[in-house]
Protein backbone atom coordinates (compact mmCIF):
# COMPACT_ATOMS: atom_id res chain seq x y z
CA UNK A 1 0.00 0.00 0.00
CA UNK A 2 2.76 2.37 0.92
CA UNK A 3 4.52 1.99 -2.38
CA UNK A 4 1.32 2.97 -4.09
CA UNK A 5 1.15 6.09 -1.97
CA UNK A 6 4.79 6.84 -2.72
CA UNK A 7 4.21 6.80 -6.42
CA UNK A 8 1.39 9.26 -5.85
CA UNK A 9 3.52 11.90 -4.15
CA UNK A 10 3.63 14.95 -6.28
CA UNK A 11 6.40 17.49 -6.10
CA UNK A 12 6.30 21.17 -6.95
CA UNK A 13 5.84 23.34 -3.95
CA UNK A 14 2.15 24.03 -3.74
CA UNK A 15 1.77 24.18 -7.46
CA UNK A 16 -0.81 21.78 -8.62
CA UNK A 17 -3.64 22.62 -10.90
CA UNK A 18 -7.19 22.37 -9.71
CA UNK A 19 -8.04 19.64 -12.18
CA UNK A 20 -4.99 17.61 -11.35
CA UNK A 21 -5.77 17.83 -7.65
CA UNK A 22 -9.39 16.93 -8.20
CA UNK A 23 -8.39 13.92 -10.23
CA UNK A 24 -5.87 12.82 -7.68
CA UNK A 25 -8.34 13.25 -4.87
CA UNK A 26 -11.00 11.23 -6.61
CA UNK A 27 -8.56 8.47 -7.36
CA UNK A 28 -7.11 8.33 -3.89
CA UNK A 29 -10.49 8.62 -2.21
CA UNK A 30 -11.88 5.76 -4.21
CA UNK A 31 -8.73 3.78 -3.48
CA UNK A 32 -8.97 4.55 0.22
CA UNK A 33 -12.61 3.66 0.18
CA UNK A 34 -11.91 0.38 -1.56
CA UNK A 35 -9.14 -0.34 0.90
CA UNK A 36 -11.35 0.44 3.85
CA UNK A 37 -14.16 -1.63 2.42
CA UNK A 38 -11.82 -4.48 1.81
CA UNK A 39 -10.50 -4.29 5.36
CA UNK A 40 -13.95 -4.22 6.90
CA UNK A 41 -15.03 -6.95 4.52
CA UNK A 42 -12.06 -9.12 5.39
CA UNK A 43 -12.57 -8.58 9.06
CA UNK A 44 -16.26 -9.37 8.81
CA UNK A 45 -15.59 -12.45 6.70
CA UNK A 46 -12.92 -13.69 9.09
CA UNK A 47 -15.31 -13.15 11.98
CA UNK A 48 -18.16 -14.93 10.29
CA UNK A 49 -15.92 -17.87 9.51
CA UNK A 50 -14.48 -17.97 13.01
CA UNK A 51 -17.88 -17.65 14.65
CA UNK A 52 -19.12 -20.45 12.47
CA UNK A 53 -16.26 -22.70 13.54
CA UNK A 54 -16.75 -21.84 17.21
CA UNK A 55 -20.49 -22.31 17.09
CA UNK A 56 -20.42 -25.33 14.80
CA UNK A 57 -20.98 -27.92 17.55
CA UNK A 58 -23.97 -25.98 18.85
CA UNK A 59 -25.49 -25.35 15.44
CA UNK A 60 -24.97 -28.97 14.56
CA UNK A 61 -26.67 -30.04 17.79
CA UNK A 62 -29.67 -27.85 17.13
CA UNK A 63 -29.92 -29.18 13.60
CA UNK A 64 -29.76 -32.81 14.76
CA UNK A 65 -32.27 -32.17 17.51
CA UNK A 66 -34.87 -31.24 14.93
CA UNK A 67 -34.01 -34.13 12.63
CA UNK A 68 -36.17 -37.24 12.48
CA UNK A 69 -33.90 -40.15 13.38
CA UNK A 70 -34.56 -41.79 10.01
CA UNK A 71 -32.90 -38.84 8.30
CA UNK A 72 -29.69 -39.14 10.27
CA UNK A 73 -28.47 -42.34 8.70
CA UNK A 74 -27.65 -41.38 5.19
CA UNK A 75 -24.37 -41.21 3.41
CA UNK A 76 -25.06 -37.76 2.01
CA UNK A 77 -24.21 -34.60 3.84
CA UNK A 78 -27.28 -33.80 5.91
CA UNK A 79 -26.54 -30.54 7.62
CA UNK A 80 -30.12 -29.37 7.95
CA UNK A 81 -33.17 -31.46 8.70
CA UNK A 82 -35.38 -31.89 5.63
CA UNK A 83 -38.47 -32.51 7.66
CA UNK A 84 -37.95 -30.72 10.95
CA UNK A 85 -39.76 -32.22 13.89
CA UNK A 86 -40.08 -31.58 17.57
CA UNK A 87 -40.76 -35.23 18.35
CA UNK A 88 -37.24 -35.62 19.68
CA UNK A 89 -37.82 -33.03 22.38
CA UNK A 90 -41.12 -34.57 23.37
CA UNK A 91 -39.62 -38.06 23.47
CA UNK A 92 -36.60 -36.89 25.42
CA UNK A 93 -38.85 -35.50 28.12
CA UNK A 94 -40.92 -38.68 28.08
CA UNK A 95 -38.03 -41.14 28.24
CA UNK A 96 -36.34 -39.62 31.24
CA UNK A 97 -37.69 -37.31 33.95
CA UNK A 98 -35.96 -34.34 32.35
CA UNK A 99 -38.16 -31.78 34.05
CA UNK A 100 -37.30 -33.23 37.41
CA UNK A 101 -33.61 -33.02 36.54
CA UNK A 102 -33.99 -29.43 35.46
CA UNK A 103 -35.76 -28.63 38.71
CA UNK A 104 -32.98 -30.33 40.70
CA UNK A 105 -30.34 -28.40 38.83
CA UNK A 106 -32.16 -25.13 39.37
CA UNK A 107 -32.51 -25.79 43.08
CA UNK A 108 -28.89 -26.76 43.40
CA UNK A 109 -27.45 -23.94 41.29
CA UNK A 110 -29.79 -21.38 42.84
CA UNK A 111 -28.86 -22.22 46.41
CA UNK A 112 -25.17 -22.39 45.58
CA UNK A 113 -25.32 -18.99 43.90
CA UNK A 114 -27.17 -17.25 46.71
CA UNK A 115 -25.10 -19.00 49.34
CA UNK A 116 -21.81 -18.05 47.74
CA UNK A 117 -22.79 -14.43 47.34
CA UNK A 118 -23.76 -14.19 51.01
CA UNK A 119 -20.82 -16.07 52.48
CA UNK A 120 -18.29 -14.45 50.19
CA UNK A 121 -19.48 -10.91 50.79
CA UNK A 122 -19.46 -11.47 54.56
CA UNK A 123 -15.92 -12.83 54.47
CA UNK A 124 -14.71 -10.17 52.07
CA UNK A 125 -16.22 -7.50 54.31
CA UNK A 126 -14.25 -8.80 57.29
CA UNK A 127 -11.07 -9.02 55.25
CA UNK A 128 -11.31 -5.51 53.88
CA UNK A 129 -12.90 -3.38 56.63
CA UNK A 130 -12.23 -5.08 59.96
CA UNK A 131 -9.03 -5.48 61.91
CA UNK A 132 -8.46 -8.69 63.81
CA UNK A 133 -5.73 -11.06 64.85
CA UNK A 134 -4.56 -13.49 62.20
CA UNK A 135 -6.21 -11.61 59.36
CA UNK A 136 -3.23 -11.97 57.07
CA UNK A 137 -2.79 -15.66 57.76
CA UNK A 138 -6.48 -16.41 57.36
CA UNK A 139 -6.58 -14.58 54.06
CA UNK A 140 -3.55 -16.47 52.81
CA UNK A 141 -5.23 -19.67 53.90
CA UNK A 142 -8.36 -18.82 51.93
CA UNK A 143 -6.34 -17.91 48.85
CA UNK A 144 -4.33 -21.12 49.16
CA UNK A 145 -7.51 -23.13 48.67
CA UNK A 146 -7.54 -21.98 45.06
CA UNK A 147 -4.45 -24.10 44.53
CA UNK A 148 -6.02 -27.33 45.77
CA UNK A 149 -7.56 -29.17 42.85
CA UNK A 150 -10.98 -30.65 43.46
CA UNK A 151 -9.61 -34.11 42.82
CA UNK A 152 -7.34 -33.91 45.84
CA UNK A 153 -10.36 -33.72 48.10
CA UNK A 154 -13.15 -35.41 46.24
CA UNK A 155 -12.48 -38.94 47.50
CA UNK A 156 -12.36 -37.92 51.14
CA UNK A 157 -15.39 -35.74 50.69
CA UNK A 158 -17.25 -38.63 49.19
CA UNK A 159 -16.31 -40.85 52.11
CA UNK A 160 -17.26 -38.12 54.58
CA UNK A 161 -20.72 -37.49 53.20
CA UNK A 162 -21.20 -41.23 52.80
CA UNK A 163 -20.45 -41.75 56.47
CA UNK A 164 -22.78 -38.93 57.40
CA UNK A 165 -25.53 -40.61 55.42
CA UNK A 166 -26.02 -37.56 53.27
CA UNK A 167 -25.73 -39.25 49.89
CA UNK A 168 -28.50 -38.53 47.42
CA UNK A 169 -29.83 -35.35 49.10
CA UNK A 170 -29.98 -31.73 48.03
CA UNK A 171 -27.80 -30.87 51.00
CA UNK A 172 -24.87 -32.89 49.75
CA UNK A 173 -25.10 -31.25 46.35
CA UNK A 174 -25.18 -27.76 47.78
CA UNK A 175 -23.25 -27.47 51.04
CA UNK A 176 -19.70 -28.20 49.82
CA UNK A 177 -20.03 -25.34 47.32
CA UNK A 178 -21.44 -22.68 49.60
CA UNK A 179 -18.31 -20.57 49.43
CA UNK A 180 -15.45 -19.96 47.06
CA UNK A 181 -12.05 -18.39 47.38
CA UNK A 182 -12.47 -16.72 44.01
CA UNK A 183 -15.69 -15.05 45.16
CA UNK A 184 -14.07 -13.77 48.34
CA UNK A 185 -11.17 -12.45 46.31
CA UNK A 186 -13.44 -10.76 43.77
CA UNK A 187 -15.57 -9.03 46.42
CA UNK A 188 -12.56 -8.02 48.45
CA UNK A 189 -11.00 -6.52 45.36
CA UNK A 190 -14.13 -4.39 44.93
CA UNK A 191 -14.40 -3.45 48.59
CA UNK A 192 -10.78 -2.31 48.64
CA UNK A 193 -11.65 0.43 46.17
CA UNK A 194 -13.89 2.05 48.78
CA UNK A 195 -12.16 4.31 51.28
CA UNK A 196 -12.16 3.17 54.89
CA UNK A 197 -13.79 6.51 55.67
CA UNK A 198 -16.97 5.14 54.10
CA UNK A 199 -17.09 2.46 56.76
CA UNK A 200 -15.99 4.74 59.58
CA UNK A 201 -18.54 7.41 58.84
CA UNK A 202 -21.28 4.78 58.65
CA UNK A 203 -20.13 3.51 62.04
CA UNK A 204 -20.26 7.03 63.45
CA UNK A 205 -23.81 7.31 62.15
CA UNK A 206 -24.64 4.26 64.27
CA UNK A 207 -24.80 1.81 61.41
CA UNK A 208 -24.22 -1.81 62.41
CA UNK A 209 -21.87 -3.98 60.38
CA UNK A 210 -24.64 -6.09 58.88
CA UNK A 211 -26.64 -3.03 58.01
CA UNK A 212 -23.56 -1.52 56.41
CA UNK A 213 -23.13 -4.60 54.22
CA UNK A 214 -26.77 -4.79 53.21
CA UNK A 215 -27.55 -1.09 52.80
CA UNK A 216 -24.26 0.35 51.60
CA UNK A 217 -21.86 -2.27 50.25
CA UNK A 218 -24.39 -4.38 48.38
CA UNK A 219 -25.83 -1.57 46.27
CA UNK A 220 -22.32 -0.31 45.52
CA UNK A 221 -21.09 -3.70 44.32
CA UNK A 222 -24.03 -4.64 42.14
CA UNK A 223 -21.79 -5.34 39.17
CA UNK A 224 -19.55 -7.68 41.16
CA UNK A 225 -22.59 -9.47 42.53
CA UNK A 226 -24.04 -9.78 39.04
CA UNK A 227 -20.81 -11.20 37.69
CA UNK A 228 -20.54 -13.61 40.61
CA UNK A 229 -24.15 -14.72 40.16
CA UNK A 230 -23.79 -15.44 36.44
CA UNK A 231 -20.46 -17.19 36.83
CA UNK A 232 -21.44 -19.27 39.84
CA UNK A 233 -24.80 -20.27 38.42
CA UNK A 234 -23.35 -21.43 35.13
CA UNK A 235 -20.59 -23.38 36.84
CA UNK A 236 -22.99 -25.01 39.26
CA UNK A 237 -25.39 -25.87 36.45
CA UNK A 238 -22.55 -27.48 34.54
CA UNK A 239 -21.06 -29.39 37.48
CA UNK A 240 -20.44 -33.02 36.65
CA UNK A 241 -18.12 -35.03 38.82
CA UNK A 242 -19.55 -34.32 42.28
CA UNK A 243 -23.23 -34.86 41.35
CA UNK A 244 -22.20 -38.01 39.52
CA UNK A 245 -20.68 -39.41 42.69
CA UNK A 246 -23.24 -38.38 45.26
CA UNK A 247 -26.58 -38.78 43.52
CA UNK A 248 -28.08 -42.12 42.76
CA UNK A 249 -31.79 -41.71 42.24
CA UNK A 250 -33.80 -39.97 39.55
CA UNK A 251 -35.35 -37.68 42.11
CA UNK A 252 -31.95 -36.14 42.96
CA UNK A 253 -30.03 -36.30 39.68
CA UNK A 254 -29.03 -33.04 38.08
CA UNK A 255 -29.41 -32.44 34.35
CA UNK A 256 -25.78 -33.09 33.51
CA UNK A 257 -25.93 -36.55 35.04
CA UNK A 258 -29.48 -37.27 33.98
CA UNK A 259 -28.79 -36.45 30.38
CA UNK A 260 -26.12 -39.12 30.19
CA UNK A 261 -28.92 -41.62 30.75
CA UNK A 262 -29.93 -40.84 27.19
CA UNK A 263 -26.40 -41.51 26.10
CA UNK A 264 -26.18 -44.50 23.86
CA UNK A 265 -25.19 -44.56 20.29
CA UNK A 266 -27.90 -46.68 18.79
CA UNK A 267 -29.66 -45.07 15.93
CA UNK A 268 -32.97 -44.33 17.56
CA UNK A 269 -31.61 -42.42 20.50
CA UNK A 270 -29.01 -40.15 18.92
CA UNK A 271 -31.48 -37.48 17.93
CA UNK A 272 -33.29 -37.95 21.20
CA UNK A 273 -30.15 -37.47 23.22
CA UNK A 274 -29.09 -34.38 21.31
CA UNK A 275 -32.55 -32.92 21.74
CA UNK A 276 -32.13 -33.44 25.47
CA UNK A 277 -28.71 -31.82 25.39
CA UNK A 278 -30.12 -28.81 23.54
CA UNK A 279 -32.88 -28.49 26.13
CA UNK A 280 -30.46 -28.41 29.05
CA UNK A 281 -28.01 -26.05 27.36
CA UNK A 282 -30.75 -23.47 26.90
CA UNK A 283 -30.90 -22.30 30.54
CA UNK A 284 -27.16 -21.82 30.95
CA UNK A 285 -26.80 -20.10 27.59
CA UNK A 286 -29.73 -17.80 28.26
CA UNK A 287 -28.32 -16.78 31.60
CA UNK A 288 -24.96 -16.25 29.99
CA UNK A 289 -26.32 -14.06 27.20
CA UNK A 290 -28.47 -12.02 29.57
CA UNK A 291 -25.70 -11.63 32.13
CA UNK A 292 -22.75 -11.33 29.75
CA UNK A 293 -22.36 -7.59 30.14
CA UNK A 294 -22.60 -7.81 33.92
CA UNK A 295 -20.14 -10.66 33.93
CA UNK A 296 -17.52 -8.83 31.92
CA UNK A 297 -17.91 -5.57 33.79
CA UNK A 298 -17.79 -7.24 37.19
CA UNK A 299 -14.99 -9.69 36.51
CA UNK A 300 -12.64 -7.31 34.81
CA UNK A 301 -13.16 -3.94 36.42
CA UNK A 302 -11.94 -5.00 39.83
CA UNK A 303 -10.27 -8.34 39.68
CA UNK A 304 -7.96 -8.52 36.74
CA UNK A 305 -5.88 -5.54 35.92
CA UNK A 306 -3.32 -5.61 33.16
Amino acid sequence: MSRMADSMTISGNGNISREELQKLREMMNSRALAKRRMRTGLRAAANVMMAFVVLLPLLYAVSIAFMPSSELFTTELNLLPKHPTIDNFVDACRNIPLLRFVLNSFIMAGFITVGQIISCSLAAFAFSFLEFKGKGILFMLVMATMMVPGEATIISNYLTVGNLGLLDTYAVLIIPYLTSAMGIFLFRQFYMTFPVVLYESAKLDGCSNLRFIVKILTPLTKSAIGAMAVYTFINAWNMYMWPLLVTGSDSMRTVQIGISMLNSVDAQSITLMIAGVVLIIIPSISIFIIGQKQLIRGMFSGAVKG
Partner: protein
Protein backbone atom coordinates in the same frame (compact mmCIF):
# COMPACT_ATOMS: atom_id res chain seq x y z
CA UNK B 1 -1.87 -2.18 76.68
CA UNK B 2 -5.29 -2.53 78.14
CA UNK B 3 -7.09 -3.41 74.97
CA UNK B 4 -5.14 -6.57 74.30
CA UNK B 5 -6.97 -8.28 77.14
CA UNK B 6 -10.42 -8.24 75.65
CA UNK B 7 -10.18 -9.22 72.04
CA UNK B 8 -12.94 -8.33 69.69
CA UNK B 9 -14.41 -11.57 68.40
CA UNK B 10 -17.10 -10.16 66.15
CA UNK B 11 -14.93 -10.03 62.98
CA UNK B 12 -14.64 -13.79 63.08
CA UNK B 13 -18.41 -14.21 62.82
CA UNK B 14 -18.28 -12.88 59.28
CA UNK B 15 -15.72 -15.50 58.37
CA UNK B 16 -17.48 -18.44 59.97
CA UNK B 17 -19.70 -19.47 57.01
CA UNK B 18 -16.81 -19.53 54.58
CA UNK B 19 -14.22 -20.97 56.93
CA UNK B 20 -16.60 -23.69 58.07
CA UNK B 21 -17.22 -24.86 54.51
CA UNK B 22 -13.52 -24.68 53.73
CA UNK B 23 -12.65 -26.58 56.89
CA UNK B 24 -15.10 -29.39 56.38
CA UNK B 25 -14.90 -29.78 52.61
CA UNK B 26 -11.38 -28.63 51.81
CA UNK B 27 -8.89 -28.66 54.63
CA UNK B 28 -10.15 -31.75 56.40
CA UNK B 29 -10.51 -33.88 53.23
CA UNK B 30 -7.21 -32.57 51.95
CA UNK B 31 -5.38 -33.94 54.97
CA UNK B 32 -7.58 -37.00 55.00
CA UNK B 33 -6.53 -37.68 51.41
CA UNK B 34 -2.89 -37.45 52.40
CA UNK B 35 -3.63 -39.77 55.33
CA UNK B 36 -5.51 -42.25 53.14
CA UNK B 37 -2.69 -42.30 50.62
CA UNK B 38 -0.55 -43.96 53.25
CA UNK B 39 -2.98 -46.85 53.80
CA UNK B 40 -4.58 -49.77 52.11
CA UNK B 41 -8.33 -49.37 52.42
CA UNK B 42 -11.38 -51.58 52.47
CA UNK B 43 -14.32 -51.17 50.11
CA UNK B 44 -15.92 -48.62 52.41
CA UNK B 45 -12.83 -46.44 52.25
CA UNK B 46 -11.73 -47.20 55.80
CA UNK B 47 -7.98 -47.12 56.31
CA UNK B 48 -7.04 -50.68 57.20
CA UNK B 49 -3.36 -51.26 56.74
CA UNK B 50 -0.62 -48.70 57.08
CA UNK B 51 1.78 -49.08 54.18
CA UNK B 52 3.73 -45.83 54.44
CA UNK B 53 4.76 -44.78 50.97
CA UNK B 54 3.79 -48.16 49.64
CA UNK B 55 0.99 -46.76 47.48
CA UNK B 56 3.36 -44.20 46.00
CA UNK B 57 6.02 -46.83 45.36
CA UNK B 58 3.47 -49.01 43.62
CA UNK B 59 2.34 -46.14 41.47
CA UNK B 60 5.81 -45.07 40.50
CA UNK B 61 6.65 -48.58 39.40
CA UNK B 62 3.41 -49.08 37.48
CA UNK B 63 3.40 -48.63 33.73
CA UNK B 64 -0.24 -47.60 33.84
CA UNK B 65 0.52 -44.66 36.07
CA UNK B 66 3.40 -43.47 33.92
CA UNK B 67 1.15 -43.78 30.92
CA UNK B 68 -1.41 -41.68 32.77
CA UNK B 69 1.18 -39.01 33.41
CA UNK B 70 2.26 -38.99 29.79
CA UNK B 71 -1.32 -38.84 28.55
CA UNK B 72 -2.09 -36.02 30.99
CA UNK B 73 0.94 -34.10 29.82
CA UNK B 74 0.00 -34.32 26.13
CA UNK B 75 -3.60 -33.52 26.98
CA UNK B 76 -2.68 -30.44 29.04
CA UNK B 77 -0.32 -29.11 26.39
CA UNK B 78 -2.91 -29.38 23.63
CA UNK B 79 -5.70 -27.97 25.78
CA UNK B 80 -3.70 -25.01 27.08
CA UNK B 81 -2.14 -23.98 23.79
CA UNK B 82 -5.20 -24.77 21.70
CA UNK B 83 -7.57 -22.99 24.07
CA UNK B 84 -5.35 -19.96 24.42
CA UNK B 85 -4.67 -19.74 20.72
CA UNK B 86 -8.38 -19.87 19.90
CA UNK B 87 -9.10 -17.28 22.60
CA UNK B 88 -6.36 -15.00 21.31
CA UNK B 89 -7.40 -15.23 17.67
CA UNK B 90 -11.04 -14.53 18.46
CA UNK B 91 -10.13 -11.64 20.78
CA UNK B 92 -7.93 -10.03 18.14
CA UNK B 93 -10.61 -10.51 15.48
CA UNK B 94 -13.15 -8.85 17.74
CA UNK B 95 -10.88 -6.05 18.89
CA UNK B 96 -11.82 -3.21 16.55
CA UNK B 97 -15.36 -1.95 16.37
CA UNK B 98 -17.36 -3.09 13.36
CA UNK B 99 -21.03 -3.81 12.74
CA UNK B 100 -22.24 -6.90 14.55
CA UNK B 101 -19.38 -6.99 17.03
CA UNK B 102 -21.71 -7.74 19.93
CA UNK B 103 -23.03 -10.87 18.23
CA UNK B 104 -19.56 -12.14 17.46
CA UNK B 105 -18.19 -11.50 20.92
CA UNK B 106 -21.13 -13.36 22.44
CA UNK B 107 -20.50 -16.24 20.06
CA UNK B 108 -16.80 -16.41 20.98
CA UNK B 109 -17.47 -16.34 24.71
CA UNK B 110 -20.33 -18.81 24.52
CA UNK B 111 -18.38 -22.06 25.03
CA UNK B 112 -17.78 -21.04 28.64
CA UNK B 113 -21.49 -21.45 29.32
CA UNK B 114 -21.60 -25.02 28.05
CA UNK B 115 -21.21 -28.02 30.33
CA UNK B 116 -18.42 -30.46 29.59
CA UNK B 117 -20.93 -33.31 29.60
CA UNK B 118 -23.26 -31.65 27.09
CA UNK B 119 -20.36 -30.70 24.88
CA UNK B 120 -19.03 -34.24 25.08
CA UNK B 121 -22.32 -35.69 23.92
CA UNK B 122 -22.47 -33.33 20.97
CA UNK B 123 -18.90 -34.18 20.01
CA UNK B 124 -19.71 -37.85 20.30
CA UNK B 125 -22.23 -37.49 17.51
CA UNK B 126 -20.03 -35.18 15.47
CA UNK B 127 -17.25 -37.75 15.62
CA UNK B 128 -19.57 -40.71 15.08
CA UNK B 129 -17.97 -42.86 12.37
CA UNK B 130 -21.18 -43.35 10.39
CA UNK B 131 -23.40 -40.31 10.89
CA UNK B 132 -20.91 -37.77 12.28
CA UNK B 133 -20.37 -34.50 10.45
CA UNK B 134 -16.60 -34.71 10.74
CA UNK B 135 -16.27 -37.83 8.64
CA UNK B 136 -18.90 -36.56 6.22
CA UNK B 137 -17.20 -33.23 5.69
CA UNK B 138 -13.70 -34.62 5.40
CA UNK B 139 -14.65 -37.74 3.48
CA UNK B 140 -12.60 -39.81 5.91
CA UNK B 141 -13.66 -43.02 7.53
CA UNK B 142 -12.07 -42.87 10.95
CA UNK B 143 -13.53 -44.09 14.18
CA UNK B 144 -12.12 -41.08 15.98
CA UNK B 145 -12.95 -42.00 19.53
CA UNK B 146 -12.11 -45.68 19.26
CA UNK B 147 -8.75 -45.19 17.64
CA UNK B 148 -5.94 -44.89 20.21
CA UNK B 149 -4.13 -42.56 17.81
CA UNK B 150 -6.89 -39.99 17.61
CA UNK B 151 -9.00 -40.32 20.75
CA UNK B 152 -6.77 -38.18 22.96
CA UNK B 153 -6.58 -35.38 20.40
CA UNK B 154 -10.35 -35.34 20.02
CA UNK B 155 -10.92 -35.05 23.75
CA UNK B 156 -8.21 -32.40 24.06
CA UNK B 157 -9.60 -30.31 21.20
CA UNK B 158 -13.06 -30.48 22.72
CA UNK B 159 -11.62 -29.24 26.02
CA UNK B 160 -9.66 -26.49 24.29
CA UNK B 161 -12.89 -25.37 22.64
CA UNK B 162 -14.70 -25.34 26.01
CA UNK B 163 -11.94 -23.24 27.59
CA UNK B 164 -11.62 -20.83 24.69
CA UNK B 165 -14.70 -18.89 25.79
CA UNK B 166 -13.27 -17.57 29.01
CA UNK B 167 -9.88 -17.10 27.36
CA UNK B 168 -11.59 -14.86 24.83
CA UNK B 169 -12.95 -12.74 27.67
CA UNK B 170 -9.54 -12.53 29.36
CA UNK B 171 -7.78 -11.53 26.17
CA UNK B 172 -10.48 -9.04 25.19
CA UNK B 173 -10.09 -7.37 28.56
CA UNK B 174 -6.34 -7.42 28.07
CA UNK B 175 -6.61 -5.80 24.64
CA UNK B 176 -8.96 -3.19 26.03
CA UNK B 177 -6.34 -2.29 28.60
CA UNK B 178 -3.77 -1.37 25.97
CA UNK B 179 -3.56 2.37 25.54
CA UNK B 180 -4.79 3.31 22.06
CA UNK B 181 -2.31 6.17 21.66
CA UNK B 182 0.75 3.91 21.68
CA UNK B 183 -0.51 2.56 18.37
CA UNK B 184 -0.73 6.08 17.03
CA UNK B 185 2.77 6.83 18.22
CA UNK B 186 3.97 3.63 16.58
CA UNK B 187 2.34 4.69 13.29
CA UNK B 188 4.15 7.99 13.37
CA UNK B 189 7.34 6.20 14.43
CA UNK B 190 7.06 4.16 11.25
CA UNK B 191 5.73 0.79 12.36
CA UNK B 192 3.48 -1.28 10.12
CA UNK B 193 0.60 -3.45 11.28
CA UNK B 194 2.64 -6.60 11.80
CA UNK B 195 5.35 -4.78 13.73
CA UNK B 196 2.68 -3.18 15.90
CA UNK B 197 1.13 -6.55 16.65
CA UNK B 198 4.36 -8.19 17.67
CA UNK B 199 6.01 -5.32 19.50
CA UNK B 200 2.94 -3.76 21.12
CA UNK B 201 -0.11 -6.02 21.16
CA UNK B 202 1.45 -9.28 22.22
CA UNK B 203 3.72 -7.81 24.91
CA UNK B 204 0.79 -5.68 26.04
CA UNK B 205 -1.15 -8.86 26.65
CA UNK B 206 1.64 -10.52 28.59
CA UNK B 207 0.34 -9.88 32.12
CA UNK B 208 -3.09 -11.26 31.30
CA UNK B 209 -1.48 -13.95 29.19
CA UNK B 210 0.41 -15.16 32.22
CA UNK B 211 -2.69 -15.22 34.38
CA UNK B 212 -4.68 -17.01 31.68
CA UNK B 213 -1.88 -19.51 31.23
CA UNK B 214 -1.88 -20.50 34.91
CA UNK B 215 -5.67 -20.73 35.07
CA UNK B 216 -5.75 -22.82 31.90
CA UNK B 217 -3.16 -25.26 33.15
CA UNK B 218 -5.01 -25.82 36.41
CA UNK B 219 -8.29 -26.21 34.57
CA UNK B 220 -6.86 -28.61 32.01
CA UNK B 221 -5.53 -30.92 34.70
CA UNK B 222 -8.99 -31.18 36.16
CA UNK B 223 -10.96 -32.08 33.04
CA UNK B 224 -13.16 -35.04 33.75
CA UNK B 225 -16.71 -35.04 32.39
CA UNK B 226 -15.77 -35.14 28.71
CA UNK B 227 -13.39 -38.06 29.23
CA UNK B 228 -15.88 -40.01 31.31
CA UNK B 229 -18.54 -39.63 28.65
CA UNK B 230 -16.48 -39.90 25.46
CA UNK B 231 -13.81 -42.50 26.09
CA UNK B 232 -13.81 -43.67 29.72
CA UNK B 233 -10.05 -43.59 29.62
CA UNK B 234 -9.83 -45.80 26.56
CA UNK B 235 -9.24 -46.97 23.99
CA UNK B 236 -6.25 -48.83 25.26
CA UNK B 237 -5.68 -46.36 28.13
CA UNK B 238 -4.88 -43.70 25.56
CA UNK B 239 -7.05 -41.09 27.27
CA UNK B 240 -6.57 -42.23 30.84
CA UNK B 241 -5.58 -38.87 32.33
CA UNK B 242 -4.78 -38.79 36.04
CA UNK B 243 -8.14 -37.45 37.10
CA UNK B 244 -9.90 -40.24 35.30
CA UNK B 245 -7.49 -42.76 36.73
CA UNK B 246 -8.26 -41.45 40.23
CA UNK B 247 -11.97 -41.81 39.58
CA UNK B 248 -11.60 -45.32 38.28
CA UNK B 249 -9.34 -46.53 41.04
CA UNK B 250 -11.56 -45.09 43.74
CA UNK B 251 -15.04 -45.80 42.50
CA UNK B 252 -14.64 -48.91 40.37
CA UNK B 253 -11.70 -50.69 41.85
CA UNK B 254 -12.31 -49.37 45.37
CA UNK B 255 -8.61 -48.78 45.82
CA UNK B 256 -9.08 -45.57 47.70
CA UNK B 257 -5.54 -45.58 49.04
CA UNK B 258 -3.97 -45.66 45.61
CA UNK B 259 -6.45 -43.08 44.29
CA UNK B 260 -5.61 -40.81 47.22
CA UNK B 261 -1.93 -41.17 46.47
CA UNK B 262 -2.58 -40.15 42.86
CA UNK B 263 -4.55 -37.13 44.09
CA UNK B 264 -1.62 -36.07 46.23
CA UNK B 265 0.75 -36.43 43.30
CA UNK B 266 -1.61 -34.41 41.11
CA UNK B 267 -1.76 -31.71 43.75
CA UNK B 268 2.02 -31.59 44.00
CA UNK B 269 2.37 -31.33 40.22
CA UNK B 270 -0.11 -28.46 39.98
CA UNK B 271 1.44 -26.67 42.91
CA UNK B 272 4.93 -27.01 41.49
CA UNK B 273 3.85 -25.68 38.10
CA UNK B 274 2.09 -22.73 39.70
CA UNK B 275 5.07 -21.90 41.88
CA UNK B 276 7.47 -22.14 38.96
CA UNK B 277 5.21 -19.93 36.88
CA UNK B 278 5.07 -17.27 39.56
CA UNK B 279 8.81 -17.44 40.02
CA UNK B 280 9.25 -17.01 36.27
CA UNK B 281 6.87 -14.09 36.20
CA UNK B 282 8.80 -12.28 38.90
CA UNK B 283 11.97 -12.63 36.90
CA UNK B 284 10.44 -11.93 33.52
CA UNK B 285 8.51 -9.10 31.97
CA UNK B 286 6.54 -7.22 34.55
CA UNK B 287 5.02 -3.79 34.55
Amino acid sequence: MKTTGRMNVSPYFYLIPSLLVFAVFLFYPFFKTIYLSLFKTDKMGQAKLFVGFGNYAELLSSATFWNSLKVTWVFVVIVVFGGMFLGLVTAVLCNKAFPGIRVFSTAYALPMAIASSSAAMIFQIMLHPAVGIVNKLTGLDINWLNDPNTALYCVAILTAWLNSGINFLYFSAGLGNIDETIYERASVDGANGIQKFFSLTLPGLSPIMFYTFVVNIIQAFQSFGQIKILTEGGPNESTNVIVYSIYRDAFFNYRFGSAAAQSVILFIIIMLITLVMFRLEKKGVKY
